[in-house]
Amino acid sequence: MSVRRVDPFTILIDKNHKEGMRTDVVVYADEEIEKNIEKDALIQAVNVATLPGLAGRVVVMPDIHKGYGFPIGGVAAFYMDKGIISPGGIGYDINCGVRLLGTSLKVGDIEKKKKEITSHLYRNVPVGVGSEGYLRLSDADWKGVISKGAEWAVEKGFGDSDDLNFIESNGKMLSYGDGISNKAKERGRSQLGSLGSGNHFIEVSFVEEVYDEKVASVFGLEKNEVCIMIHTGSRGFGHQIATEYTSIMLKASEKYGIKLYDKELACAPFKSEEGQRYFDSMSAAANFAWANRQILKHLVEKSILSALSISKQQLSLRTIYDVAHNIAKIEEHNLEGIKTKLIVHRKGATRAFPAQSPDLPTSYRKFGQPVIIPGDMGRYSYVLVGLETAFEKSFGSACHGAGRLISRTKALEIFKGRDIKKELEENGISIMANSKATLSEEMPYAYKDVSRVVDVVENVSISKKVVRLKPVCIIKG
């Protein structure tokens, strides 16, 4: 594979590299990150560049790694009339994303209560393999979740309506739910309000460093402030929709004469019946995920109030922002001076809109969108802000996390015999997880250093750092 570095943070794969490519691939990565990029991940990016109706280039973020179909960290935009939509460009965990919550607490207020906070979270939040939420959705509930997303959860008493202003797309996308199977609903019926397992987590952290005081202040973040991050998605509901539509799209690809270099790139024209049904179903799954994170916010609040024996007012838990990192959105972008509606696929990539974007809450519009980038469980996470150049460079997208450095199996091998929980506790982090294997698999050094990933994104002027967060309490599945 011939790969050309065009500057210290950008690699270009020219469209003439492989037969069938319709556009170039741009990979944002420094030399150190480049050394660890899997060859298969680059091949996947090249395959994406063969799909019809692409607008601009295929873009890949510095947390790139191998996925199914699209690489993780991939962004591709398609014209609405002649472009496609592909479940492989979103992922099986539709609207896997992160919500960041702010509080009135400082890290000193919780220093002596970390274990209590962790155990209350672990007790109250359904977490781990086979975890189920407290709710059992009726058919009427399903209609609400599918069409209203986070708003439905607020109507049911989880959180408040002010949260909705601080969620991407206000926590709901238009969906009628007509293309959703009973199987998908059955899979999701008992899982709303649960965290799941694997790399999903809830993390209590504090603002360790402030890089931009002005923007931090607008986001409501200050040094030593206690924050909470919730990372989860659409659970079995989304997985089932993705599974079913991958199969439907495989048949559709043949029907519409679309050549596939990878079966997981199965797709249909966006405006076709199959394309529209998938988009509607994907939107329903996205709404489920936003409702899920809204309910989990409520459970986080309940847990911290009881752990610290404080009032709601003393905690003042609020949503700073909620971002999706596996999703397709209809967005207007400037292409060669013309405003054009595109269907933007982000798989393991986060929207990063700059100042003046009408989609942003009024209070953030002057400065830009918070971009929440979780790191691994031992080190740090970041909040960035979207920059104007992001539109030109990446369809207004940034990275989504650190990306794995070593496989789960390798992590288990390397960290065998080590007491990861004890090591983290010695570093001031209280943690509870469903299994020791989860801790080893999700060990900090199993992931790339997120600061490196974030530095690349900042150096290419897609987003810039606002604060760095340090974890103190974590629960994992």
């Binding site: 393999v129 997985h239 599974t243 991958t246 079966k263």
Partner: protein, 134 residues
């Protein structure tokens, strides 16, 4: 006698060699139980019926795996053995197994994918390779 190997890493890679589709489905059933559950007993007190039609004969194994994932996720059902009837692309199966206790869940599978999926006839046997998302 067929062979099945699976390799757990960031995802689950399953390789099967079987004399025919019936044996292939049987081996998938047995390996599913080993992968998801710590319960090593052969309890068959529960049964479930499956019927599905695949887009092609080649995709039957992927679709069957996804059916098992669905039954496990919704009901906690783990198959121990099955009786299969195949008519072209249609599959009818009666599965016998148990409902897993939460503490016996070893791993949850998300979806059987088409990623690097291959199925071919070689030396008189079916050779399959499938990747399952965890």
């Amino acid at each position: 006698m067929g062979k099945v190997e699976y390799f757990l890493d960031n995802d689950l890679e399953i390789s099967i060699e079987a004399k025919d589709m019936y044996e292939l489905l049987h081996l998938l059933t047995v390996s599913f139980k080993e992968i998801v559950s710590n319960n090593f007993e052969g309890d068959t007190s529960e049964n479930r019926e499956l019927f599905f039609e695949s887009e092609s004969v080649d995709l039957i194994a992927v679709d069957y795996m996804n059916e098992l994932i669905y039954l496990f996720d919704v009901y906690g059902f783990v198959p121990v053995r099955g009786v299969f009837n195949l008519f072209d692309r249609k599959v009818k199966a009666e599965l016998f197994g148990f409902i897993v206790k939460r503490e016996d869940i070893k791993r949850v599978l998300k979806a059987a994918t088409l990623h690097q999926f291959t199925i071919q006839k070689k030396d008189g046997n079916i050779h399959l390779k499938m990747i399952v998302d965890l």
